[in-house]
Symmetry: C2
Subunit: 453 residues, 2 copies
Amino acid sequence: MAEAVRHDKTARQLRLLSDALDTGRLGPVRRLVNTLSPAEIGNLLESLPAAKRGIVWGLVDPEDDGEVLVHVGDDVREFLLAEMDPDEIVAAVEDLDIDDLAELAEDLPDTVIDEVLKSMDRENRERLEQVLSYGEDTAGRLMNPDVITVRTDVTVDVVLRYLRLRGEIPEHTDHLFVVSRRHQYLGRVAISSLLIHGAATPINELIDDEQPAIPVDTPSHDVASQFSDHDWISAPVVDENNILLGRITIDDVVDIIREHAAHQALGAAGLDEDEDLFSPVPRAARRRAIWLGINLATAFLASWVIGRFADTLEQLVALAVLMPIVASMGGVAGTQTLTLMVRGMALGQVGSGNLRALFSKEVMVGFLNGLAWALVVGSVSALWFSDAMLGVVIAAAMMINLVTAALAGVGVPLLLRRVNIDPALAGGVVLTTVTDVMGFFSFLGLATLVLLG
Amino acid sequence: MAEAVRHDKTARQLRLLSDALDTGRLGPVRRLVNTLSPAEIGNLLESLPAAKRGIVWGLVDPEDDGEVLVHVGDDVREFLLAEMDPDEIVAAVEDLDIDDLAELAEDLPDTVIDEVLKSMDRENRERLEQVLSYGEDTAGRLMNPDVITVRTDVTVDVVLRYLRLRGEIPEHTDHLFVVSRRHQYLGRVAISSLLIHGAATPINELIDDEQPAIPVDTPSHDVASQFSDHDWISAPVVDENNILLGRITIDDVVDIIREHAAHQALGAAGLDEDEDLFSPVPRAARRRAIWLGINLATAFLASWVIGRFADTLEQLVALAVLMPIVASMGGVAGTQTLTLMVRGMALGQVGSGNLRALFSKEVMVGFLNGLAWALVVGSVSALWFSDAMLGVVIAAAMMINLVTAALAGVGVPLLLRRVNIDPALAGGVVLTTVTDVMGFFSFLGLATLVLLG
């Protein structure tokens, strides 16, 4: 996957589009944009600075407006909605699927939502209200209530006649769901099995009743792992009485997986997963300032520790020169352990069953690398400053800090989770605070004892 | 997604399993393991230390062995294969789908591959050899040659009779592919459309010929973005003459997306994406040592810069106390820009069309945050050491370093990509080297000029 950082197709579209925009002739831009799928248009809009983004958005076929809004991040969506009249918004979103509409709903002005609800028939209005009544990031919010259900007591022929009458099958339908008279979920029938079995085959011979349905309050990350554990294309969603409420399809699950990856990648740098590449400067500066402020507090803590050893530093300036090395190596080693832990925790692979084994493995790794690099750093430092004891001191401090880093790499994410803070977000800051403070303290402390003692 | 770090189901299975293992009675462990899907078993095996992993692997139903091997990372796969006889391996893998077998092939001993090839019929042997002839991380390696094709000149009825005769439809088949007499790809027919159209309908009325097929040499990350841009479940793969070779299904694409996320998350800490949570200590230590060594070289570079100012530090120890703050804030601010850039580049959202706009936005953000935090750091430092000029110097150094950080955050990933190094892997190290060196240099340099000048 070393080359996975490039995505030549979008980059090429972006260049073509920018060139076309620069000529000022909008006809070709419009034609170019409207050859793309809504997801591709969304991706392009996300890569344009505000002025060009506004122009291109005006050129998108109004038919596609709704789907494009679904496919962009929160910040960009807000920008695009601000460019539209309430009437345009209503027209854009009223034909969306219920699950897509539910996803947009929180970003829409109340007047628009009222308008959209009014334009819907009663059944769809109730469905939308039902979906919106479930918590964010649960199965209930992801599901689409538009499902095809059949009863057990019919034959393949009856089902086929029903489907022909219906005339349309929702996208990503790989199974029909079998329900009881009271609409309780009983099992599923693969639509491919309808093709290969004779017309007289009773449906109850084709039912797969092994796959459990998804309870409506299941967190969305659990939904995603069930989909990938079982290679599902779609899955039924039920309430606490096993009444079938709707179904979730793989395309929404792919979005969850992507969002989760963005959350992990951007969150670790204190960025929002919906951060707009071209968010307005004051807004971007304000958001990032918080993270810088937290970091500043921890940096002052480390400085305060150094300040305790001002006398020592005054007598031996080599300590000031070398001290960042001890802190930095601890930070890198600790981050390696932390990264492995955060990933293991996200996959559910870390728990009381294997914690002790994990702790001792990481401490051993830290010890071995501490030993190896302590020798190198100690030798180089002793030669550089012609001071053998200085080499011994920095080597010992390195050992201490790399073992501390391993302990903190395992311990910090566990503690954070205990207090309900996401380790993917805060883990790095807390960890490097520990390794900085321990790095400076062990090195300057040992130096005070040994070199000036 | 704040709670996405938990994955309670697997963690619960892990605990149950560990408890059962601790009792020493293997009957309950076996029963527990064999209620799980192969992907879940793989996940559990990945979370177990070596000794327990070996025991549990021995209890897995041999029927599932092959699928489990497909679902674990490279390192764990190597461990599991080492526990098996060649005969067991052959039995485990010979019934896998061609695409899964191709994925395992590079990890299998040559004797096993020969054995497996011998056990296959000629058609499957040729298919496997063909798939293996394509480059890693291309569409050719992801595809399964087992596809259902139909011709244009038939009716729905003929297709249905053919399917009934065939008796089985490969998993995740949402479309049949229409080919010419020479097996050239012409379009696709949704299997749901076979259900809702009359038996006499000619297939050529149901063809969707708008969706392009995927060329066999398309990089896998491009395959993944095409799937998510178009919400595909499956897509045809063709050679340069438009001959249909096979199809790619969404489950493999989900794996690519997950692997890419792992690559980004683990790679930034110098870890392999297939890193085993319980890899043997010497091996884990050796792998991580390389990253620590690279970091050590950059840390010595920063120390060398500090060493140039030894005289200044000797005269004013407050500089040693404060200097890590300037370096650290630059590192954090630069990492924020870098993270946004790496993600934008992975999505194809950064290119010549918007680079100038991106540069100026990031520099403005760096300037604003530099200004704000320079005021804070300057004031605190001036008060702490009762030295107004010291406050001015550190404030100026902060400004310089935060603007440098913004420039480096945009520039470093672009430069790395130019020289074909993945910015997701190396970006962080290079960036913090720049901000450390510039942080120490600007602060100590200004102090030398202003305070001792």
